[in-house]
Symmetry: C3
Subunit: 440 residues, 3 copies
């Protein structure tokens, strides 16, 4: 099921520059060891800022109270290894930065096999993969390794070293606001706090970076767009603690972008009551783009939509994924590497989200200006010969005029007529031009 | 599938005078060549006026602006033919008035085979039927014929003649209003603009004529009834342009009657949101009358419900059919002739629509006058012996009293109890008489 | 299908003292001949009063108008028999009190076989069972017997004797109100008017008597509890005629308890629109307790929920049963005897109804006090290590906090999370203690 390399691949989808650029950005970010705080996150965010220098970077001090939480100390790591007493390296952070438990305390000591094993994390059901494990809010030291590697720890004693620091510092996040004609907002949020894993989570920041370019390129923007790059959970909570009222006032729809780079499927996680504009537009676009997409209820949430949809926050924010976190075996392991994502996979997600943006920009309540059907024939929009069987091509326009009665927005009409929004945009523009339609 | 002649038919349904009269009226109207304007329509409407002289006839001049449309010139036709150069008639309007394209320009000329074929319309999938084709809003001349006939046009040259006129005149329509106790209205609308075709559309005007007699015969009428005979589309638009506000104020339910004379099935086309009294009553009556009836959504509309349900008009008007237009093969061809409809077919439609009228007349919100179940036993409405298994026959009354709580109208109660309205009318009348019930 | 005696039974459910006590109470009440009025009802109610002396007993005179009904004369019976002319007893009330038609007039006469047969009621489809038949509102005399017994009435003449009185007296009912912190009420209603039948209806009064003890034992009560023991139909109507306004003002949910002692299934009869708190809580508890329970719509009602749900009363009252009246063959026959019910059957119903009471007591709208998810880890409610696969046990708390947004009561949350209310009570109490939650 893993992605074939392009040379082996039967190319059925021609990937554009945009897909390739997202993939290249992911390749550049991949080696950096990120966490919810620290220089890895900071360095990664600065790489994104190269493309969009307007991204504002915020630093929030350790110890700051953010709702029910406290920002932890900043964690940084330079290396880590286990050696046997002959000095042979058994595992090394340089080979794979998942080897050190996230937020591990520093240590340099000789430890017995027994003690070491208490600090070792593996994933026995996938014996050659290294799991990604963290301990943000309880101080521990630890190593992650494959089950195979663990089984080879047969010596009585080992030398272990973790060269990390855990000390007051800052939590870092980035924010970019692109203003539109109104202060109604569309929110995009992604997280940049994982070490070397590709789908979860370099795909999200890379897609979001491309979407910023796309939104910048729009000749007009009805909505204001807000893009947020945070560490997961604590970062979203921090961001919300500083912006809750503004977000509740302005955000009309939002999307957490995560795990958007593979080619297996498309998925969304709905909001709590599945009744928001975010649910509506994403469902509509996915329905036409990839009818077999998977819809997960809010009970299956697991990323920052947890915070955006929490009680007391209640923002209209869905999550958008290809293979959803927790649902693909490679999730949170060393197997979620650069071969698991592809330019094509990223580009598919880019298409969905740009269609979402287009649908939102055009989504208004439309109303015909004149009672009864308009005479489409005299405008070249309907055949002048009336004979059985020749209507179908024109039916969409006629149906559009019937439902443009002020009760339906463009997405509603798309759902009723079962025609994608982008095709309706053309009809709507024709009718607007003929002054047969007004937008509300 | 075509209707057998009565002599061959195993009579399982005894048709009454009413069915026969509708069929005879259709037979009389059949030969006339009607169109959306002209003497054919006028003459046909006057035949209906013989039965109901109160029908008011309106004439609206060509060129009148009606919403987005303009009333076209009046079209009249005396004849038309194609002859070969030996003077032999190939096809002739006298044989079948579908042979001339509706609204065809006059012509009398020798034309090459190639030129003629550009003006010939056929229906290749049914090679012996002549299709019904029109060109109301683009000036053309043309002939319709069977595919077989077209294949025999092998000469190099033909003489063609269409003796028609297309000149300023009028659009004609008829209207009859039968006042009731309130000015809440029930609307019936049908069209009379088709040449010699029987189901579509002589069945509609014939049924409507019979319904006028039925409504006249009612001893009391809660509703005011409005009956409209128009040319399709342009006629409905013209009528709406002159009566929109009145209709929007008063019409509580309306029905377009079309294709109501065959015996194959029953159908209805719902309103846009399927939430009107018209949808509710027609659905209820059809459900009990013919449970396998076909329900079409508004997206499948094709007759004047298009205008009545258009944005900005939004009247509660369904279409009622037996085999729905566009859904039976004979539709808009010479095969839709007098053998396709029958007195039985028309009478079945008459029964449905008179049940609809009855249901509407009795449809009120009912409320019991006394809390708890009434003591039905002392009124002879319930058994005085209480033993297992003897309740069922009385259960309907008891259930009626439970749901007569002011929240349900009679049709709602029918839907809940799954008992046809006409059976509930009897129960309701008993309870009203016992002063156990009030109507709201 | 009848209940095995405990010695034969593979005990999979250990019945408690409570189940045994209910069964013993039923055994004591069983021999008494009850009817809708008279000493049998009075005596039975006084036996219940031994356990709960606070039950108030009301006596309403014959002839009293109660809504559309009149309280009938009081009926009492001492005996009844049929003998042949040789003086041999054919059937005797002493053997089974179902033998005399309920509310039978007194008679002592020699009658011909023909005349006798006009006064004999049987149930031919179950030829050895004696049916239960009554004639409350039409004066008659009569005997009930098995079809077999009837077939043996071959003599020409018989002596018949019914030693009953039907004379002005009273209708008796009992009521107990246990006040709570609010005057919002939960209503339980059952009937005590059937002669020797066990499931219908000694099981209801026995369960209700046990529930009174349970409610008394609650350390705190948010709701006020009202327990009503009436004769069926006329008793419920009498009770409503005297308490309608109070009930409409205060009752938030009510339950008719009937046929609750067998072991076959569980059932409920919904209210008219199935939208009340009673429907909601009973559905929720049954769903988790016995997922295959049967839900009957209001159209299948047949006990006092008929009156509580009647037009103009419209109280939120469901019926709760195991095998529902009218749905089990033994219903209203001599086969509904003490072997048809069991301590286990009664105890199962007791469990359901005490869960209903618990769910109602805890059922509030809850709201988190702090935006975003709370930090459950620092309170020991969430793991401090973040690794795939270890979250599930903690997920319920997290999900609870998401839906505790003020829009859902505890039963809603149970339905959304698919976790029984009693498990959520624990979570809710923890969060309340942590001051993360408020109740509204």
């Amino acid at each position: 099921m893993q992605r074939s390399t392009p040379s082996n691949l039967l190319i059925i989808y021609k990937v554009s520059e945009i897909g390739n650029n997202m993939y290249k950005l992911a390749e550049r970010l991949f080696p950096i060891c990120r966490s919810i705080t620290g220089d890895g996150f900071r360095q990664s965010l600065h790489i994104l800022c190269e493309q969009h220098p307007e991204i504002q970077v915020f630093e929030v001090p350790s110890g700051t109270q953010v709702f029910d939480w406290t920002i932890p100390n900043e964690w940084n790591i330079r290396g880590g290894w286990i050696k046997n007493l002959q000095g042979e390296t058994i595992i090394d952070f340089q080979d794979c930065n998942l080897h050190v438990l996230g937020y591990s305390l520093p240590i340099h000591a000789k430890v017995s096999r027994e003690e070491l094993l208490e600090h070792v994390y593996t994933q026995p059901d996938e014996p050659v993969w290294i799991p990604y494990v963290t301990s943000y809010y309880q101080e521990r030291w630890g190593f992650c390794m494959s089950q195979r590697q663990k089984e080879q720890l047969t010596d009585a004693e080992y030398e272990v070293c973790i060269d990390s620091t855990l000390a007051p510092g800052h939590l870092t996040y980035g924010e970019l606001i692109l203003p539109g004609d109104t202060d109604d907002e569309i929110l995009f949020s992604t997280y940049l706090c994982h070490p070397s894993m590709a789908n979860n989570e370099l795909s999200g920041p890379c897609l979001q970076t491309a979407l910023i370019s796309y939104v910048k390129s729009l000749p007009v923007r009805r909505y204001t767009y807000r893009f947020v790059f945070v560490p997961e959970t604590i970062g979203a909570i921090t961001y919300l603690s500083r912006n809750l009222q503004t977000l509740q006032q302005h955000v009309k729809a939002g999307f957490v972008l995560s795990c958007v780079g593979d080619e297996r499927t498309y998925s969304m996680v709905g909001t709590k009551y599945e009744d928001t504009l975010a649910d509506k537009v994403l469902r509509n676009v996915l329905h036409f783009h990839y009818p077999d997409y998977r819809h997960y209820p809010f009970l299956k949430r697991a990323s920052d939509e947890r915070q955006y949809g929490s009680a007391g926050v209640d923002l209209p924010v869905c999550a958008f994924c290809r293979s959803k976190y927790h649902e693909y075996p490679e999730y949170h392991t060393s197997a979620d590497d650069m071969s698991f994502i592809s330019p094509e996979g990223l580009e598919g997600s880019y298409e969905v989200m740009t269609k979402v943006i287009q649908a939102l920009e055009h989504n208004r309540y439309y109303r015909m200006t004149c009672p009864c059907e308009p005479q489409l024939g005299k405008r070249g929009l309907y055949p002048t010969i009336s004979q059985k069987g020749i209507y179908d091509a024109f039916r969409a326009i006629q149906n559009f005029t019937a439902f443009a009665d002020g009760r339906n927005d463009l997405i509603d009409i798309s759902n009723i007529l079962q025609i994608p929004v982008d095709q309706l945009v053309h009809i709507k523009d024709q009718l607007l031009q003929e002054q047969l339609l007004t937008a509300e």
